[in-house]
């Protein structure tokens, strides 16, 4: 039986789409070799057989694995095979623990079948009882599998099983301080999830256990750091925890002789292993991917998926804190990532905060965000831990002002309220944070934040009281001074520093002293790097470091190799730009250069006169022409140039002169950087000397993003200089494409968008000046590109918009066309109101017909007087209405409108119906007639197939609901009195079910009334044939009178009609 290949998996759950995997084959093979050796043998015999086969190392490993698989797969034989395993194994079960850590728990836990999971816990209990080497690593992996915020039976079972194992084996546990701390951290955290009455038993067990650890092993728990306090506070309502809390504050030495009190804990930065232990490997992988691989703007789907899987229940809201602490403490992106278009950490955190559904969890999440601010110490804390907090506030000011103000409010109030006896320390900590944020130029100035217009008076006052020194003039002066130095240099300089240090003297780690080692990034190297980071934490508070072997167990399965690589102290170096360090910095790079070149660079370093600098760069270009550069030379030269030209790259004013004229623009081209550009464009396209210059620019562009838009500026400006504006234009600016090609990048659109995004941020004037050329020269890649369009509209002011509108109307600019508009429109629904309104201005200029917008109609939501403006699409709907207004009704338009879901609170459809009825009464009646009669309700499907090109059939109920709305919302009755409409209502009534008849009773009531009691209107309706010319004369009056009187006039329709007709009559006479 066992030799047959099973279809299903021995250990894992399978389905049609998740079948067997390679591991299954491996495990089955090992299992089968055990079974074939021992089949039919008694316990003793099989033991002997196994022992005999073991001599070969390979066989040994396979048999151990086979025994492991059999233990996990078959509870009936488990204890016998465990016995075999312990006797047979010659590596103290290393194969077993490693397989558990790396494969079965680390990778495949969520796929284990229920019986396998039970067997796994049984096995772990045995391993712990026996005190097997490395089993602490297995326990640590299992701890991670207890998901935060998950109270499903499966997860609760795991938490309970593991706490049982640990309770029963305290002496074993006490031997591993790191595990003690991790266990404490984990259970303190998930106690919060177990607050429901159904968990009372489990909760008590966990509380007793964890308080026992806290009291008996407090020395070990101290290594957790400040987040220990955070977790305790969240569950301080539990009696035993509260008692412990009191001792922590009032009687610290009772917990541990050297412990001085809560302040000591709060001043200790939490080691990242504790943040890691609170995410399952799966969650960790996804969050790390989101923060390091997903482009800003592309995150929406990933966030939805994550939300759906992990944050979708009320209980799961507590997980948000864990995620925020993990992102802050463990994901410290490299500068490369910081400068790229990857989604920044603050945006992910902003999402986690704003999508939270529970007020308690929201408050806790805010605290989690600012936790490292409270006692921030510039010496021991890391700027990367406070950076997200300030950036969330800063970047949310415009798109989510409420988030910003609520965070500001929070940070002000937390200072006195967090722990009143420590209020002064915390005030100092928060002030330290802000000061360092300014010093490291995380933001240029706090002024826009502390003085933003969305704050109410009270908050404004609160901020002024809390942060006087950051609001008063003194600081403004300081900031201004800084501003002068290099307003936008931070990013570029940071990159350069990083480049300079790649592998050289990065961090304190000796391992990385060789660039090769660093680049190859083997796990071994990483471990060391991680380790050294942890050691950088204040040593005083740390217990003696645990033995290395243990750390390996923990860090190994956990740390995702590259993303967490810590480039922490890069930002801080920003301020050194103009300092004495320069020469030292460059010398490393100069080594790679030839002597002539070295001389030029050194001259350039000392030369201040612009003209001379230009000459030096020309010499440099000549040198490059005569003497090709190799890769190393290019990279190092690029670094030196970026460094030496940093002032020119970030001049602090717009590249575009104040008054634009041919002369002033020519003057603006005196920048030494442009000498290189000039040399490039003067060479013919097939000249081989272009390549080295292009490569140099590519490297400079990589180092310093500003090079990209300077190049664009130069290409356009140099054309104007030569006065042949239009002719040469095309060939010239397309040189920019060569830069993209030379960089080996295929996605030109992304390339240009990246440069334009930076340009928009640094110099919006140039952006609007240059954008028509971008569209005209690269129309294929740019036309209809929503991302590009938004980035333009985001920066535009009204006069720049007018410039664009004029160009579009002149026919010299096309930003999108009819076919691309619908998809742009759909994306624009996420944009800011102003951006959307600007888009509509451009749409009008492009003469986009209304048909192109109709496909988006079903996605447009609206609710009158909604409290949540962000959920409505008023911008698009009102503009579409304005377009529809200019159309005369047609069958297609009407069908599309009637197909829109009827909602009482949405006046869109009824508005245009009323508008048309007022003007095209007869035509509307006929069209509605077509809709109702052409498509009888019973067989909409058949119809659809026959007329796939037309808009699909409208269910009768839908038609009636809108017509009824017309009656109720606009008081429309005259229209229904038309003969055609009467017929329609009659037909409809006949087709209706009883419930529908009831539902639209008031509407159908209009039929009878007319026929029975008012014969008078009949003759008046007769002269309708002459109506052909009526509408014109009628239009104004009717709409006026409608506006004035529609509300009061519900019932008195006949008289009103008469009045109107009379008026018309007299008018036309």
């Amino acid at each position: 039986m066992t030799n047959e290949r099973p279809i299903t998996s021995r250990l894992f759950t399978t389905s049609v789409i998740e079948g067997r995997v390679e591991l299954d084959e491996k495990y089955d093979k090992a299992y089968n070799s055990v079974i074939s050796l021992t089949r039919g043998l008694s316990e003793e015999e099989s033991h002997h057989a196994l022992n005999k086969a073991l001599d070969d190392r390979k066989v040994h490993d396979e048999l151990c694995l086979g025994l492991l698989v059999s233990i996990l797969a078959d509870s009936s034989i488990a204890s016998r095979h465990y016995h075999d395993l312990t006797l047979v194994s010659r590596d103290s079960l290393k194969v077993v623990t490693e397989t558990l850590i790396h494969q079965i728990i680390g990778e495949r836990f969520s796929r284990l079948s229920e019986s396998t999971r039970r067997q796994l816990l049984w096995l772990v209990r045995e391993l712990v009882k026996t005190g097997i080497n490395n089993v602490e690593g297995v326990v640590w992996c299992l701890l991670r599998q207890i998901a935060g915020g998950d109270v499903s039976a499966k997860n609760v079972w795991l938490a309970e099983s593991l706490v049982d194992i640990l309770r029963e084996n305290r002496p074993w546990l006490d031997k591993f301080p790191v595990i003690v701390a991790s266990v404490t951290y984990t259970y303190l955290r998930i106690l919060e999830d177990h607050s429901g009455p159904q968990f009372a038993g489990l909760r008590q067990k966990e509380v007793t256990f964890v308080v026992g650890l806290l009291r008996e092993r407090f020395q070990d728990c101290l290594m957790i750091g400040r987040d220990l306090v955070r977790l305790l506070q969240n569950i301080a309502k539990i009696q035993e925890i509260e008692a412990f809390w009191r001792d922590l504050i009032h009687n610290p030495t009772s917990l541990c002789p050297g412990f001085t009190g809560i302040l000591q804990l709060l001043q200790t930065r939490t080691s990242r292993r504790f943040f890691v232990v609170r995410l399952t490997p799966e969650m960790e992988k996804k969050i790390v991917f989101l923060c390091t691989d997903v482009k800003f703007g592309m995150q929406k789907r990933y966030q939805e998926w994550f939300q759906r899987q992990y944050l979708n229940t009320p209980e799961s809201q507590t997980l948000r804190c864990d995620l925020i602490r993990f992102i802050i403490g463990c994901i410290h992106p490299s500068n490369e990532v910081l400068c790229s278009d990857i989604i920044p950490r603050w945006a992910v955190i902003g999402w986690l905060l704003s999508s939270c559904t529970s007020p308690v969890a929201t408050a806790n999440s805010k605290l989690a965000l600012f936790y490292d601010w409270l006692l921030y110490n510039t010496e021991t804390d890391n700027i990367m831990n406070i950076e997200p907090g300030i950036l969330v506030m800063y970047h949310s000011m415009r798109p989510h002002p409420v988030l910003t103000t609520s965070l500001l409010d929070f940070i002000c109030r937390i200072i006195p309220n967090f722990h009143p006896p420590l209020a002064d320390k915390i005030r100092a900590g928060v002030h330290n944070s802000l000061r360092q944020i300014l010093e490291k130029r995380v933001v240029q100035s706090l002024e826009p934040l502390f003085d933003n217009r969305h704050m109410d008076v009270e908050l404004r006052k609160l901020i002024r009281e809390t942060f006087p020194e950051f609001c008063a003039n003194s600081v403004m002066g300081e900031v201004k001074h800084d501003d002068f130095v290099a307003p936008v240099s931070s990013q570029s300089v940071t990159t350069m520093d990083l480049l300079a240090e790649t592998g050289l003297d990065f961090g304190a780690s000796a391992v990385n002293s060789d660039s090769e080692v660093n680049n190859s990034n083997h796990i071994g190297g990483m471990e060391e790097a991680m380790f050294s980071e942890d050691e950088e934490e204040p040593p005083a508070q740390k217990p003696p470091p645990p033995p290395v072997a243990k750390i390996k167990v923990e860090e190994n399965p956990v740390t995702p190799p590259s993303p967490v690589a810590e480039m922490e102290d890069v930002k801080p170096k920003v301020n050194d730009v103009n300092s004495v360090e320069e020469k030292v910095d460059l010398s490393k790079h100069l080594e790679y250069l030839e002597n002539d070149m070295k001389t030029i660079i050194l001259d350039l370093q000392n030369e201040k006169d612009t003209k001379q600098r230009c000459d030096l760069l020309q010499k440099l270009c000549d040198l490059i022409f005569s003497d090709d550069l190799d890769q190393m030379e290019t990279v190092n030269l690029a670094y030196c140039l970026c460094h030496l030209l940093s002032d020119e790259l970030t001049p602090g004013t717009s590249l575009l002169p104040q008054d634009i004229s041919a002369e002033s623009i020519q003057e603006s081209l005196g920048n030494p950087l442009y000498v290189i550009f000039d040399n490039l464009i003067t060479l013919p396209e097939d000249d081989h000397r272009r390549q080295p210059i292009l490569q140099l620019l590519v490297e400079m562009h990589k180092t310093t993003y500003q090079v990209g838009y300077h190049f664009l500026y130069f290409l356009k400006a140099s054309n104007i200089k030569s006065d042949k504006v239009q002719e040469n234009n095309e060939s010239s600016i397309s040189t920019y494409r060569d830069l993209c090609k030379a960089a080996g990048l295929k996605d030109f659109a992304a390339f240009v968008i990246r440069d334009l995004r930076f340009l928009g941020e640094d110099d919006p004037r140039v952006l609007s000046w240059i954008i028509p050329d971008i569209y005209n020269n690269f129309s294929k890649q740019t036309r209809g590109n929503a991302e590009l369009l938004q980035l333009v509209l985001e920066r535009l002011d009204s006069s720049q918009l007018h410039d664009l509108v004029c160009m579009v109307l002149q026919g010299s600019l096309q930003m999108f066309d009819n076919s691309s508009f619908a998809s742009i429109l759909e994306k624009s629904l996420q944009w800011e109101t102003v951006e959307q309104l600007f888009l509509w201005q451009l749409a009008k200029a492009h003469e986009i017909p209304v048909d192109c917008c109709l496909s988006v109609m079903p996605k447009l939501k609206f609710t009158s007087h909604s409290a949540l403006v962000s959920n409505t699409h008023g911008e698009a709907l009102s503009n579409i209405l304005m377009m529809l207004r200019r159309e005369s009704p047609t069958g297609i338009l009407l069908r599309t409108l009637l197909l829109r879901e009827f909602r009482m609170e949405d006046p869109t459809v009824v508005t245009i119906l009323q508008y048309w009825v007022q003007r095209y009464e007869d035509k509307m009646a006929n069209l509605i007639n077509e809709v109702v009669n052409n498509k009888p309700q019973p067989s909409p499907n058949k119809r659809k197939r026959n007329q796939s090109t037309k808009a699909s059939a409208v269910p009768l109920d839908q038609v009636l609901s809108h017509l009824n709305h017309l009656r109720t919302a606009c008081g429309q009755t005259t229209f229904f009195a038309l003969e055609t409409m009467q017929d329609i209502l009659q037909t409809a009534q006949n087709q209706c079910s009883e419930t529908q008849k009831k539902k639209y009773g008031d509407l159908f009531a209009l039929i009878e009334e007319e026929e029975e009691e008012e014969p008078a209107p009949e003759p008046q309706r007769k002269p309708k044939p002459s109506r052909g010319r009526k509408p014109k004369g009628r239009k104004k009056q009717e709409s006026e009178s409608e506006e004035e009187s529609s509300e009061e006039e519900d019932v008195k329709k006949p008289s009103r009609k008469r009045k109107k007709n009379n008026q018309v009559g007299s008018d036309s006479d």
Binding site: E282, R301, Y302
Partner: protein, 125 residues
């Protein structure tokens, strides 16, 4: 991230070339692809009581709709990363559509960790 690259690992180890969505053309068959599921459409029930779903999938080069029958369509979730063998492409109702051929197989290999692009949408007429 050892297993986020499960898909790419597969590619490397089995030494097979995966077709990119952007390169799909009507009539192509015997295709191997790796993609991430973006949207799962509502099922249409055929006369024989099969559920057919149109599922929007993407890789880094673009996106396309794949037509899935019964179980696979029920079990998949947006965000799942799948490998497909024996896929073929044809035009249905004016839209380029991907199908699983007889004997072909769709297997979920991972989740979430894959970059994709929604442009071009090959199924747009």
């Amino acid at each position: 991230m050892t297993s986020s690259g499960e898909a790419t690992g597969l590619e490397a180890s089995m030494d097979v070339q995966f077709t990119l969505i952007r390169e799909l053309k009507p009539g192509m068959k015997n295709l191997r692809l790796v993609f991430i599921v973006l949207e799962i459409g509502r099922p249409n029930v055929t006369k024989e009581n099969h559920e057919v779903r149109s599922v929007k999938v993407a890789d880094r080069s673009g996106c396309i709709n794949i037509s899935l029958w019964d179980e696979p369509g029920q079990l998949l979730q947006p965000g799942d990363i799948c490998s497909l063998n024996k896929g073929y492409v044809s035009v249905w109702k004016n839209c380029l559509t991907l199908y699983v051929a007889k004997g072909g197989e769709l297997q979920k290999v991972s989740e979430f960790c894959m970059q994709f692009s929604e442009q071009p949408n090959m199924s747009e007429p």
